[in-house]
Amino acid sequence: MAKGITLEIPAKAEYLSLVRAVVVSAAGLDPAVEDQRLEDLRLAVSEATTNAIRAHANLGSDERITIRCGLGDDRIEVEVQDRGPGFNPEKLKDTGPLNEPGRLQYEGGFGIPLMRVLADEIQINSADEGTTVQLVVYTPPST
């Protein structure tokens, strides 16, 4: 994508706030994007980056997480790439629908279901050398 930014962060929770602020600021450069969609993106990016930080828990402290945010004609694309051990997204524990009362028995596991609700497209590619989560939010055409 012609317009966009790349951010590399240490895998530490204190960088989450910075990632949210930078991605939302970059996405906000598209004048057509609505505030609600920026809020959706803020939360989805936070979830993806949180998972990436967790994936780095047992790696050396020098390994970094890469976040790319690109602005297209009709979309904002954000990619969060970690270098953790990877997982099989198909084998995630099914904790039921997000708003199911029985969900309360779990204190975690909201992240990926939330991203699926918030983003218009989500793709998760995971292998032994890392995981890339790609989030897409559609934007109305600029006038």
Binding site: E39, T50, L104, E107, F110
Partner: protein
Amino acid sequence: MMLGITQEDQGEWVVLKLSGEIDMATGPQLRQKIVQRVQDGQANLIVDLSEVDFIDSTGLGVLIGGLKRTRSHGGDLRCVGLTEPLKEMFKLTGLDTVLTKEGINPIERNQT
């Protein structure tokens, strides 16, 4: 970013007024505060979120954990003062019906 937490005792309820963002970085602070209060025998907690402008699933997990902990000690945990982004998040996850029961601050309800 730090999470601001101030505490005020109101009858049998303890109000934890939070400010800032609740995520993986700040959630442990809140968890520790809730655990501390329950250990001190104060298991009726109101979490005032009116100055919280962001919460993610890690933060929600802390609140769910807090709810379980307070209830297991005969108390309860209620969230009040949700800002618009938080209302949306609570609705998406169905927690609006559990953590903001009846949508009324129990202190105000007791006074009427």
